[in-house]
Structures are given as C-alpha cells and as structure tokens.
C-alpha cells in the first residue's frame, strides 16, 4: 500500500505536502530519496558557492527575501551579503555588472526573477556575454550562468508567460539548458556554473514544487551532467516524443496513456537545447521512425522547428511520417484559466498528435 501511495504522491507532487508520508518514504532504506526541484537547485547553488569562492549570486530578492521563488533560501545567511547580492530593479545594469565581472575572472550566477524580465537585459546577454569571446578571438571568456523561471506559470498572463528557449538557442556563443526533474536541476546547474561559457538556464516555476526521486549519486557534491547530452526517460519503439522542461512530464503521462492502447513511446528529455544532442535524437529516430516534438513556446521558429529541420537533414530516410510539433498556441498568453489551458499543450494534444502518425 505504501509504495502505491508513494507513486501517487510522486505523480501529484504531494510528497512535500504530506510530511508524514514523505518522512516514511525517507525512512525506507530501499526507497530512493525524494527531492523537490527547488531544493535541488538550492543545494546545487549551496555546494558551488562552497566549492569556489569566485562564485557569487546576484539578482532581485535573492538575499533577504530568500529568493522570489525561494530558490536561494538560506544562502544569504550562510555566505553573506558579499556573495549573495540583492540588486535594485535594474536588469540591464546588474546583468552588465555580472558579465563584466565574469570577463574579469569571477563566476557569477545572475538570477532573473523570470526570463521575461531578462528582455530588459538581453543586450548584455547577447552582445556582451555571448559574443565577446568571439570578438576578442578567445582572449576574454565569460563563465556566467543566467538563470530563472521560463515559460508559463498559472494565470500570470501575457507578459509573464513567454518561453524563451528558441530565441536564446539561436545565438552562437550561448549554451541553453532546460532541466526537468531534480536530477537534471542539480546536475545541469552544477555543470553550468563550472562551465567556462555563458549558460542560459531555463527553469520552470510549476516544477519548483514537484518532487522527484534522487539517488545518492545525484546527491554527491560533484555530481554534474554533461552539457549537450539528452536523456532517454522512457524507452519505446513506435514513436519518439522529444521535449524539455515541464513538457517532459506531460510526455511521460501521455506515454502511459498511449501504452494502455498499445503504442510504445520513447520519451527524450533534451536537457540541452543548445547544443542539441543529434546523436541521441537520430539513434531514437532509427528505432521508431516517427517523431513528435512537444514544447510550450510559440510554433514559428521554435525548438520543434529546429529539431524537425535537423531530423529531416540527417535522418530523412528514417522518417515514416513528418516530424510533428505540439506547441503553445500562437497567441500572447491569455489570463482566463480556460483560455490559458487552451493556449498550452495538454496531454490530450500529445496523444492526438501521436495517434495521427502511428
């Protein structure tokens, strides 16, 4: 009975809301530990701040407020105001300071309250951080991480809900990562902070509170995930579902539904939008010959467009059907709850797309 409850708890993210069950789960030696994405990010930041004193965090409300979404909870108390800096509301300015300090040898983690606000700093991200190594022909690199929640939350309307994955992934010089579960969050953030190049780290607000199992290996303080490698979350043989961030969860649930109908989906969690892992994608295509890309962002020039183009170029003979894209609707995000749901991909949309090509 308990394992079934744990299963339920994991799916509905209840582990954090039912402490007794959570405690019982942690007490069971044979059960893996659970960790929320929020705690995963927090622990990764904590460990990297401890490991290298050139790492520091800056952003709005990261210090005394404990983080707008509590990702940096406790870090000000532990490391002091010199390393966890509250900034004024001055995105272009503080992003530029972070970039300049990275040029001069520090390793900043620059938090944006949401990636929407980074539009005010996009000049610094692209024209300074991404391009300077090239313009200086290798003399000045920028070991910076830009992080924050990306994409739609719940009812936050048009100016707080945009997904920026495709915009940043088109820029040479940037690496763009999108974690899904706690293992991704820990491993990718630690890899990003240790990376010598500017990394755009796209989190998701809805995922912050969700709990995922983590192994002792993931909890190790030197656990990193290689940038540029996708993960096969679920093996299958009939169709490949490619996704990142929150949509990976949707794809997994769609795969469960489709499995009951005899369609076995292979679910790939991209983890790294730039660079795309062509090797894993092509290997999966060779197995299934059908692909559906699922993303929250807008369709034109989205991540799905890039995956479809690349698969057509390198795997044309492997395709038995066009690469389909399940994306957000081509509208600024509406406020009304039912319209918002209609503007975002739902599990039923993924199931429908798969059924149309198998």
């Amino acid at each position: 009975m308990l394992p079934a409850l744990v299963q339920q708890a994991r799916i509905h993210g209840l582990a954090t809301r039912l402490p007794r069950i959570a405690a019982a789960v942690r007490g069971f030696a044979s059960q893996p530990t659970e960790m929320t994405v929020r705690d995963a990010l927090n622990s990764a930041l904590d460990e990297e701040l401890a490991r290298d004193d050139k790492v520091y965090i800056l952003g709005e409300e990261v210090g005394e407020y404990q983080g707008a979404y509590k990702i940096t909870r406790g870090l000000l108390q532990k490391y002091g105001a010199d390393r966890v800096k509250d900034t004024p509301i001055t995105e272009a300015g503080f992003t530029g300071i972070a970039v300049g300090s990275a040029f001069a040898g520090l390793r900043p983690v620059c938090e944006f309250m949401t990636w929407n606000f980074a539009l005010q700093a996009i000049d610094q991200i692209i024209n300074s951080a991404a391009k300077t190594l090239y313009m200086s022909a290798g003399q000045i690199n920028c070991p910076i991480v830009f992080r924050g929640p990306n994409g739609a939350a719940a009812g936050v309307a048009a100016q707080h809900s945009q997904c920026f994955a495709s915009w940043y992934s088109s820029v040479p010089g940037l690496k763009v990562l999108a974690p899904y579960d706690s293992e991704d969050a820990r491993g990718l953030l630690k890899a990003a902070i240790r990376d010598p190049d500017p990394v755009v780290f796209l989190e998701n607000e809805i995922l912050y509170g969700q709990s995922f199992p983590v192994t002792p290996e993931v909890l190790d303080k030197d656990f990193t995930i290689p940038i540029g490698r996708a993960k096969v979350m679920r093996a299958g043989s009939h169709v490949t579902l490619v996704s990142f961030s929150k949509m990976v969860g949707y794809c997994l649930r769609a795969a469960e539904q489709l499995a009951e109908q005899g369609v076995e989906c292979e679910v790939i969690n991209l983890r790294s939008i730039k660079p795309l892992d062509r090797d894993t994608l092509l290997a999966s295509l060779r197995k299934t010959h059908r692909m559906v890309v699922v993303e929250e962002g807008w369709p034109q020039c989205g991540v799905g467009s890039e995956v479809a183009a690349v698969m057509m170029e390198i795997g044309f003979d492997e395709l038995d059907a066009p690469v389909l894209r399940v994306t957000g609707a081509e509208v600024p995000m509406p406020y009304a709850a039912n319209l918002e749901a209609a503007a975002l991909p739902q599990i039923s949309d993924i199931v429908k797309a798969v059924k149309s090509i198998v």
Binding site: A98, G138, P275
Partner: protein, 429 residues
C-alpha cells in the same frame, strides 16, 4: 535655411553668427531664441566658453598661477605628447586607408579628442581596466596595445589584436585589460562596472589586500541619455565601486546636437552632464577636454579616490571631434565656425607650446617624437598590409571557450572533432 514666418515669404540663410544677424534684422527676441534652438548651433554663451576645472577635493589653480612650476616632469610630458601624436597620426592614417579601400565597415575616428584618452589612460596601471565604445582605437593605443596589432585588426588580418574577428568597433586585449570596444553605446558602462566589482570582490571576499585596480569607462554625450548610464550611476555609487565615468562630450551624437537631445539641468542654460553625478551620490567634475594637463589632473584625483575605496566619479570632458561621426558621415550639420573654434584649441599644439615654454622639451625633442611616431605609423601600415588574412578554418573558432559547446554530431563524436571543422586551434580544458 530657416524661414521667418512673420515676414513675407522671406527665407534667410542663417550665417554662423546669427546673433548679430538676427539683431541686425531686428528679429524679435523670442524668434531669436527659436532660431538658435532650431539651427542646432550652439549659442555663444559666455559661461560655456570660460570652462573651469573643478577638482574633486579642492579648487585647482588656473594655469597662470602655476606658471612657475610645471605640472608634469619632462618624461611624463614627452610621454603624453608621444601618445597624443600617435593617436592623431594613427587616426589620420586610418582615414587615408579607408578611402583607399584597405579598411571597411564602420570606422569612427578620434581626432581632436586625444587629450582625454591620453590624460586619463596614461595614469592607469597595467592591471587597471578600460572599457570604451566604438570610438576605441586611441583608447587601445593609450592602454598599450601596439599600433601594429590595432592597424592589422582594422585591416581584418589574422595578426590583429582580435585576429580580425572584432574590427574597428570591438578592440579587446586581455593582456592590457581592455574590455572592449562596444557598438551599443551604454552597453560598455555596466561591463566596466563589473570589472570594478571584481576588484572590490577580490579585496572584500577573496581577501586580496593588494586588489585595488580601477576601471575607466569612456563614452559620449549621446550615451548619457541611455538607460544603462543611469542604472550604472546608481549602482556604482550604491556599491562604491572603483570606477571612473569619463564622458567625452563632443557635443554631437552623429548629427544630433547635445543641446537638442538632452534636457537642461535645472537653472542652467546648458545641459550639463557632470551635474548628474551628485544626484546619484558621486562627485561630478567638468573639465576642459582639449587640455591634456587639466584632464590628467582631474583624472588623477578621480583614480586615486577610486583606488582608496571612496567610490566612483563622473568626469565630463568638454572636447570635440575634428572629423565626422564616422568616415561615412558627410558631417553637414556642424558649423565651420564651431569647428574652427575647436581647431584653435587643438590639444597637441597646446601641449607643445606648454612644453617649450616650461622647458620640458626642446624643439629637437619634439621633432624626434614626431619622427618616431611617423615611422611607427608607416611601419604598422606596412605590417598590416603584409599580414595574411584569417584562414577559413578560423571561422568557427572561439565561439565557445569549451568547443564541446557545438554539440554532439550524429555519429556520436563532438562536432568540433570532425575533420575540417576548424583550423584546430580550439582546445578542450
């Protein structure tokens, strides 16, 4: 042309000294003001002419009072003269090369403004940082980047300071701590603050007591209307960063006169930029940017202030560019009279006269410096001309410090490992 509406279709070409003409025509006073504003020509205001040096801590004695003792030693004077002449000759050579097709794209020359670059940068240590805009050739030279490397970069050759990948607007040198070279004005200022932040962090967090490097950001009057300028003023003062804001106010942002673009500070006739410093909690200083010794005096105090940890300073240097905004600018909007006024204040003859008068150098010394510069400029052109262009394999290099950033190819190898991807000079750490 400015037409006077209340006359019968009379169109008058306003000469440079419109004040005289307007009063001769008995144009009403209100119309005179309108004429001045619409012409974009600076009204001759007595306050603006007699520019005073305002030092940060104490008033600076005027040049006449210090006639007894020279402000600098002979070595320093000769170094300043050499640096300014090098800047001037280099920029003039750039113009020649551009019109001969050796240089291309956007080239923004610094001729006339040398006193600011020399006056500030020659005071800096090698570990101090400089950040600039697209008008950065002379900042690079003053900071120590060799003329050969700058000219080769402008020609787009492999031997340039950025291997031909940056160009005129993006001069970088990690060896000389020149952090760019930014085309977006205003963008470089926060980056400069970041270098200053690093210096303070190194001292406060990493415990390096000797960390006291200072950063100077150079930008123009047009930049002072960009949002990032104000964000930077706020944070520099808030975090007390060792940073000096150097405004090279040459009165023109391409064809937009500073007087048309910037609102006047309360109670003033001119839109003073230096007055914005105190509004953010730092001293603001106005200095005659055509006099290298005055600039140097003010910069010295600002740099030492920053080094002591007392925070940033805003220096507004009144200066002028003798050429257009760029080599593609026809420069039709600036009056000949204005240009002549500033040509008369050319910083190089000013310093030459001062050196001779104070006995800091002889005519022979000066001729020797000028000959040395002429030779150096000729040499750097020859070097750039004879240097090879970058090979095609250089195209994909240095996009990432870690070239695995190009990702994994369909055959399982990293793309940078595939043959023919690049010349192969990228290394994985």
């Amino acid at each position: 042309y400015i037409s006077i509406p209340d006359s019968s279709a009379l169109v008058i070409r306003i000469p440079t000294d419109y004040c005289l003409l307007a009063s001769a025509l008995r144009v009403p006073a209100r119309m005179q003001v309108l004429l001045k504003q619409r012409s974009g020509i600076r009204p001759s205001q007595p306050g603006r002419r007699a520019v005073q040096v305002r030092a940060v801590a104490a008033p600076v004695k005027s040049a006449a009072a210090t006639a007894k003792t020279p402000l600098v030693t002979p070595e320093v004077a000769k170094d300043l003269y050499y640096d300014m002449v090098l800047g001037r000759e280099f920029e003039e050579m750039c113009a020649q090369m551009y019109y001969r097709g050796k240089m291309f794209g956007f080239v923004h020359l610094y001729s006339g403004q040398e006193a600011v670059s020399t006056g500030v940068i020659r005071l800096l240590r090698p570990d101090d940082y400089v950040v600039s805009t697209y008008r950065d050739h002379v900042h690079a030279l003053s900071k120590g980047v060799s003329a050969r490397e700058v000219m080769a970069e402008l020609f787009g050759k492999k031997t340039g300071c950025c291997r031909g990948q940056g160009g005129s607007m993006h001069m970088f040198s990690s060896k000389h701590n020149l952090l760019g070279g930014y085309a977006f004005i205003g963008e470089g200022i926060p980056v400069g603050l970041g270098a200053a932040f690093q210096s303070k962090y190194r001292r406060d967090v990493l415990g390096d007591e000797k960390a006291d490097s200072v950063t100077c950001s150079f930008f123009g009057d047009g930049t002072c209307n960009v949002g990032q300028f104000y964000e930077s003023l706020n944070m520099a003062a808030l975090y007390k960063l060792p940073h000096v804001f150097v405004v090279e106010n040459n009165l023109w942002a391409i064809g937009m006169s500073h007087l048309r673009a910037t609102s006047r500070t309360s109670g003033d006739v001119d839109p003073y930029i230096y007055k914005k410093g105190p509004a953010f909690g730092m001293p603001g200083v106005l200095v005659d940017g055509m006099d290298v010794l005055k600039v140097r005096q003010v910069a010295q105090e600002a740099i030492e202030r920053a080094r002591r940890g007392e925070g940033p300073t805003l220096i507004e240097a009144e200066t002028y560019r003798f050429r257009g905004h760029s080599l593609a600018d026809p420069d039709e909007l600036r009056s000949k009279e204005e240009k002549a006024r500033y040509q008369a204040r050319d910083p190089i003859p000013q310093l030459k006269a001062y050196m001779l008068e104070q006995g800091l150098a002889t005519e022979a010394d000066i001729k020797e410096i000028e000959a040395r510069v002429a030779e150096e400029v000729d040499d750097c052109v020859k070097f750039a001309d004879e240097s090879p262009k970058p090979e095609r394999g250089q195209l994909l290099e240095n996009v990432f410090a870690d070239p695995r950033g190009f990702g994994i190819a369909e055959d399982g190898r990293y793309r940078y490992q595939q043959p023919g991807f690049s010349s192969g000079t990228a290394v994985v750490s």
